[in-house]
C-alpha cells in the first residue's frame, strides 16, 4: 500500500511513481501496517471501556485517584472531571467507549485516517490529563515499569509519527517510518526525550528503594490467572531487595535505547530490538498485560505501545536493495 493509499487519496495500484518498491509490489507499506496496529489498540481500548467495572463508581474513583500527588492546577480539573463522570457515569462511559471504538475504526478505514489520527491526538491528550493525571510524572511516583509516562500519551505520539505525509523524496527517502511525517531530526529528538525520561523515572527515589520494584511486580498478581501470577511471583523474587541494582540496570538499558536512533543502521537495529525486549518485559512482568486478563483494565498499558513505537524507528531498507529484492521475487 502506498502512502497515497494509506491516506485514502487513491488506490495503491494507481499510486504515483516514486511511492517505493513496496507500493510497486503491492504489499502494504510499513506505515500503514503500524497505523493498523495503532487502530487495533484503540479498538481494544474501546471494547475494554465497555466492561462492567467502568460503569461502576469504581471508575470515577479511579479517575479521582489520579489527582493524588499532582499539583493543584493539574489536580483540580481531574477532580472536576471525576465528579462529572460520577454523576453521569453510564452516559459518559458509554460515550468514552464509543469514541475509542470509532477512533480505531476511523484509523483502519482509509478515507478517515487523517481525521481519526487528529482526533486521537486530542482525545489522548485529554485522557492523559483527566484520566491518567499526566501519567503521574509530576508526582514522583512514575515508573517505566508501571506505565510512565502514561500509556495514552504514547497514542498521541504515535498518531503524530504515523501521520500520512512525507517529508522525504524519492531521491532521499526518510531513514525510518517515524521520520516520514515529522522529519528525522525531530523524530529522533522525540525518541531521545521519551526514553531518557523513562531512564530518569527508573532512578527516582521511590523506584530505586530496595523493595520498590519487588512490590510493584508483586502487586500485579491479584486477580491474574495462575500462570501469570506465578511469573509475577518469580520476577518479584528475583528483584527482592535489589531495587537499586535493578533500577540502575534498567536505566542503563533505557539510555542505550534512547541513544540508539543516532547510531548507524546495524547498531540502531540492535538497540531497537533491545527496546522491544524491554517493552515486552515491562508488559509481561511489570504490567501483567495491562491487567486485562484480571478484568477491569482500561487499556493494555504502555508495553505494546513502546514496542510499536520502536517499530516506527526501524531503519528502512535502502531503495536499491528493496527494488532488487522485488525484482528477484517477480523473476522467480
Amino acid at each position: 500500500m502506498s502512502e497515497t493509499a494509506a491516506a485514502g487519496v487513491q488506490p495503491a495500484w494507481r499510486s504515483a511513481p516514486g511511492a517505493g518498491a513496496e507500493a510497486a509490489r503491492g504489499g502494504p507499506d510499513a506505515r500503514r501496517l503500524l497505523q493498523l496496529m495503532l487502530a487495533g489498540i484503540w479498538l481494544l481500548d474501546g471494547v475494554l471501556q465497555y466492561q462492567a467495572f467502568m460503569f461502576s463508581k469504581g471508575f470515577s474513583d479511579m479517575l479521582a485517584g489520579t489527582a493524588s500527588g499532582n499539583p493543584g492546577v493539574v489536580a483540580s480539573p481531574i477532580n472536576w472531571n471525576a465528579t462529572l463522570v460520577e454523576h453521569h457515569l453510564v452516559l459518559l462511559n458509554a460515550v468514552f467507549a464509543t469514541i475509542q471504538v470509532l477512533l480505531g475504526i476511523g484509523i483502519a478505514w482509509r478515507p478517515t485516517v487523517r481525521v481519526a489520527l487528529a482526533a486521537s491526538v486530542a482525545w489522548a491528550l485529554g485522557v492523559w490529563w483527566f484520566g491518567e493525571g499526566l501519567g503521574m510524572v509530576l508526582t514522583g511516583d512514575a515508573s517505566p515499569v508501571n506505565g510512565a509516562p502514561g500509556a495514552v500519551i504514547l497514542y498521541a505520539l504515535l498518531a503524530v509519527l504515523l501521520w500520512p505525509s512525507d517529508r522525504g523524496s524519492p531521491a532521499s527517502p526518510a531513514p525510518f517510518t517515524a521520520a516520514r511525517a515529522v522529519g528525522a531530526p525531530l523524530a529522533r529528538a522525540l525518541w531521545l526525550v521519551l526514553w531518557l525520561s523513562l531512564a530518569y523515572f527508573a532512578l527516582l527515589p521511590g523506584n530505586r528503594a530496595p523493595q520498590a520494584l519487588n512490590g510493584m511486580i508483586a502487586g500485579m498478581e491479584s486477580g491474574e490467572p495462575g500462570w501469570l501470577a506465578a511469573l509475577d511471583r518469580g520476577a518479584a523474587s528475583l528483584v527482592a531487595h535489589q531495587g537499586l541494582a535493578a533500577s540502575i540496570v534498567l536505566a542503563i538499558a533505557l539510555v542505550i535505547v534512547a541513544a540508539g536512533v543516532y547510531l548507524p543502521s546495524p547498531a540502531a537495529r540492535g538497540t531497537l530490538v533491545l527496546a522491544i525486549v524491554v517493552a515486552a518485559v515491562i508488559w509481561v512482568f511489570g504490567e501483567a498485560f495491562g491487567g486485562i486478563i484480571a478484568g477491569g483494565a482500561t487499556d493494555p498499558n504502555s508495553g505494546p505501545l513502546l514496542a510499536l513505537l520502536a517499530l516506527t524507528y526501524w531503519p528502512a531498507r535502502a531503495p536499491g536493495r528493496a527494488a532488487s529484492a522485488f525484482e528477484r521475487t517477480t523473476a522467480s
Binding site: M1, A5, G8, P11, A12, W13, E22, R25, G26, G27, P28, R32, L36, A39, G40, L43, L44, V47, L48, Y50, Q51, A52, F55, S56, V90, A94, V101, G104, I105, A108, W109, R110, P111, P225, W227, L228, F289, I292, I293, A294, G295, F326, T329, T330, S332
Partner: protein, 267 residues
Amino acid sequence: MIPSWILDVFAAIMLVVAAVSAGRLVAARPWQRGARRAALADIDVAHLLMAIAMAGTLVAGLWTLPGGAWEAVFGVMTAWFAYRVVLDAQVSGVRALAGGHCAPHLTHAAAMLYMFAAVSAPAAHGSGGMGGAMSGMGTLELPSLAFVFALALVGYSIWDLDQLSGPGTSGYYSLAVARAAPADPVLAGVGAMTAGAGAMAGMGATTLSPAAGAAVAAEPVAEPAGIAQVPPASGPADGTGVLAPWVATGCRIAMGITMAFMLVIMI
C-alpha cells in the same frame, strides 16, 4: 453491571447481520446451483448462526438453543473451517493463517465454541445457557484464552476494515469494484486470494493453482482487471447487491467487534 441498552444495541446489530446473511443465502440460492456452489454458502451460514447465537447471549429474550446445542454447532463449524484452512495452507503455507480466506472464519467459530464451552453461568437468572449467563455477567474459564481470542478478533476486524476501504493491489474487498462481477467468480476469487496472500506477506509473486484455489475460495471477488459486467437479466447475480463481497466482509467486521466485546466483558 453493563447497562442493558448497550447489550441491546449489540444484539440489534447481530440481528441485522443475521438478516443480511439470510438474505444472501436466499439471493444466492445455493441449493439450485450444484454442490460446488452450495459449498460456497458456508460463510453465510456461519454468519447467520453466529449472529443468532450472539444475539441470544446478549439479550436473554433472544435466547434460542441450549448452550450444549450451540457448542455442538460451533464444534462442527470449527472443524469445518479448520479443514478449509488446512486446504488453504497446503497451497499457500503458513500465510493461510494470517491472510488466508478461511482463517478469520475459523477464529470466529473457535471463539464462539470457547465462549459457550467456558462460560460459568451464575444461577441468578435461571434461564440456562448463555443468555442467563450474560445477563448475570457470567465469567469465562481460562480468561487468558479470551484475551487471545479478543486480540485476534480485533486484528482481523481492523485488517478487514483496511481492505474494505481501499483496494490495495488485490481489489479484494474493494467498494469501487464491488458492483462488477468476474466472469467466473470462483476463479476470480482464486486470483484475488493469490494477490491478497501476497500482500499479507509483502510478496507479489505468489502462485496458486486454480484447482486448489477453487477448494478454498468461498466468496466471489472482483478484481480491477478482467471484470465483466453482470448481465441485467440474470437475476440476483453474484457480487452485486446483497451478494456483494463487501457485505459479507461488513458482517464479519461487525461480528468480530461484537465477539471481542463479549469476550472482554466476560473475562
